[in-house]
Symmetry: C2
Subunit: 444 residues, 2 copies
């Protein structure tokens, strides 16, 4: 029989334990943070009627959808994000669920794009949204969630940039350029890449505004410093325009509310230049950059949108949400040495080298597990050296070694695998607490 | 613009929070139990080269695969189980991973079968396997994992039936019927459904054995009672056949090892009649039945197989594993009232009804979260009645109510939502411990 070559599809990948352990941990942390704010989990099918997926998508997204006819000759597609399924879900169930509706969704999505470095055709999205309210409290909460997410994952130095698109819209209104907001924002988005002068040039040529107007936009975008100073400057530049004033007021509320929610001021930045998701976000916008790795881009972005599910229902559903970039975060944690390099989720390894005592090894392991200590018993009574090599390779913290003598004497050896330090500890099945306490102490 | 009808595909479903919360909890419990034994998580792509999936599948599985040509004209399919991907994965990576390799995998699979009651075209599988060892210790551990899984999920009364196919094979050998094992097992599998006499009849007609031989098979299958008695009877019926004797010895080791691993004897049952997965399992076989709901069938099944990845590699990879039936368990928990009926993962609800104190509500919530208490703030300053109705509907345990007076006096009201009992508690942002302690006490 000829063998089938074992291989994954181009653009797809296997997750081996050393990579999957921190991914799973990250997802679990995200769940816990979402839950602590009352966001509830949902899930939706991988496959949707194709018309649901292509409803609003751009040509580019449309091309990327994995699509086919199923056995029932239905046109179906694999979801390419979690936002379209959320919109369909909300349209279908909001009557049952009521508003406000707060959900999180952590699930894979698929895009048949040409894979680039670090990008795959299958990847996890990790989204949270509050639907059915325009309250600024939901905006504030989104900032607090982002802060707690990154903090709980283990980051300390990061910056959440906050914008409210209404401020710039108000300025354009004030300048009599209300209809140019899209090209202006598109140019503005390039500010950090192409620099001040080129941004002004591009604005003048593509948005058809004069250089003085472009200068005002740039001044607005460049407002920075102490929050109070920024708010004053924004008011000044927008010349009392009412829309802008309201936008600034909301931004101020978000800023103050975030502080009240425990977000340190050093992590907050007001930045009127950020403009992501032009066709989608309508109010506040967030981006989050790791201070030590700004080059990897935003690791958590989102914003407020006007009407989530307009393709599927007449019910007006405004909302706010953001998305945690799991893959970017993992890459960042790797670069910053924040990732454990183990391929076992258990801490204690029990060597098994005297078959006559098999049930003793099992009982010992069971006692440790009952005390909440993850414990693996090597399955074969091989030579100790081979077993300890396995334990080392997998990254166990410590090994327990006991042969016939030790079992008879009510002893075992506890060995720290990194330092090779070993100690004898009394142990009996009926009184495992000396060993348990010592292991707990060492694991701290 | 005409609306697109929001609907899911036939055979697929959305998971709303009330259903998703316990599902997520169950998956998390499973992860924790797997990890406590040193099983490590992996993940594999949803899509595989079609030839990988169709390699060994039966005609029936083949028909059920969601398959299509991707944009690169490759024949691809969505995985229909986690075993085929594991085999491919092991063939591809075992050189890096080494053996023994212990993994768990919790992920959706897809089958385009005609959906029946309670069965869907997309469902989660939850598998664990130990690959690369024939040691009985791995068999024992599988029993311990099943026990700890169900116990940690919250079940007390369940029975893990254990068989070793070698025992029956040995008997057939002894009777000179070594080549009839498949039809004999197939008939035997119907014992509980069609009864003793019909089973014998079927064996005689389909396996072409005589009624005395069938009687011996039935006697073997019906061995029950105290473990020691069963082992003695099995030896007697198999008449000293060596293969059977070895099989019985292994069964005995598994039984004793399971006891040593903390599995109570009342949950263990030796049952030579169970015969699942005829074409796949070759040694020990498990089934797990909830004592209070036997009708729903086995909630965790598995067994030992000879060679996992023979289609993809020449490396011999024996293994043992089992699969937790998440959907069945959820259905069972619902029937046994073991499921919480909430649609929020947070316990505390903070009513928000005085906008002037918005940041105080936020700070209070942030303080509770910092103490590990899940807390949701209602996003709009609506009437209290509407807010409490929302809190009731979602199943929060308690609500905190504070207006201007309370804030000024350093007080808040804590209301238990089920009993409507309310109490005044002192609270200030700088000293939240009185409130925190009281909430913790009430949540216990």
């Amino acid at each position: 029989m000829s063998l089938i070559q074992p291989r994954t599809l181009k653009g797809f990948r296997d997750y081996l334990p050393a990579v999957m352990i921190p991914r799973e941990q990250l997802m679990q942390t995200a769940r816990e943070v979402f839950r602590s704010f009352g966001f509830a989990p949902i899930d939706t099918p991988t496959l949707e009627h194709l018309e649901i997926l292509t409803g609003k998508g751009s040509d580019e997204t449309d091309r990327q959808i994995y699509r086919f006819k199923d056995n029932g000759k239905r046109d179906v597609g694999m979801r390419f994000d979690l936002t379209v399924p959320l919109a369909r879900f909300a349209a279908q169930h909001i009557g049952t669920l009521g508003t406000p509706f707060k959900r999180y969704h952590i699930a894979p999505v698929w895009r048949g794009e040409n894979p680039q470095a670090g990008r795959y055709r299958e990847f996890i999205q990790c989204d949270f949204d509050t639907i059915g309210t325009e309250s600024v409290l939901a905006d504030i909460e989104a900032v607090a969630v982002i802060n707690n997410l990154l903090e709980t994952i283990g980051f300390d130095r990061f910056t959440i940039s906050i914008n409210n698109r209404a401020v710039l819209t108000g300025l354009l209104d004030h300048l009599g350029l209300a209809d140019r907001s899209v090209p202006v924002l598109r140019s503005l988005d390039k500010l950090t890449k192409i620099g001040r002068e080129k941004t002004i040039e591009e604005m003048v040529s593509t948005a058809e505004i004069d250089s003085e107007q472009a200068e005002a936009v740039l001044q607005l975008a460049e407002c920075s410093g102490e929050a109070d100073t920024v708010f004053a400057k924004l008011h000044e530049i927008t010349g009392g325009n009412e829309k802008a004033a309201q936008g600034i007021e909301r931004l101020k509320n978000i800023y103050e509310g975030a502080l009240a929610s425990g977000v340190p001021s050093r992590r907050l930045r007001l930045d009127v230049s950020i403009a992501r998701g032009l066709d989608y976000y309508t109010g506040v916008i967030f981006e989050t950059v790791l201070d030590d790795l700004p080059a990897i881009g935003s690791v958590c972005s989102g914003g407020r949108y006007d009407n989530l599910a307009e393709l599927y229902t007449k019910q007006h559903l405004p909302g706010i949400g953001a998305s945690l970039g799991l893959d970017r975060l993992i890459a960042a944690m790797e670069q910053l040495n924040l990732l454990p390099t183990v391929s076992t989720p258990a801490s204690v390894f029990v060597a098994y080298f005297d078959e006559a005592y098999r049930d003793d090894y099992l009982r010992l392991a069971s006692n440790l597990r009952a005390a909440g200590i993850g414990t693996e018993v090597y399955p074969e009574a091989k030579k100790l050296g081979a077993q300890l090599k396995y334990a080392d390779n997998h990254g166990f913290e410590m090994a327990i070694i006991a042969g016939g003598n030790e079992w008879n004497e009510g002893q075992c050896q506890l060995k720290l695998l990194k330092t090779k330090q070993a100690e004898q500890i009394t142990y009996s099945h009926d009184a495992p607490s000396t060993l348990v306490d010592r292991i707990r102490q060492l694991l701290k």
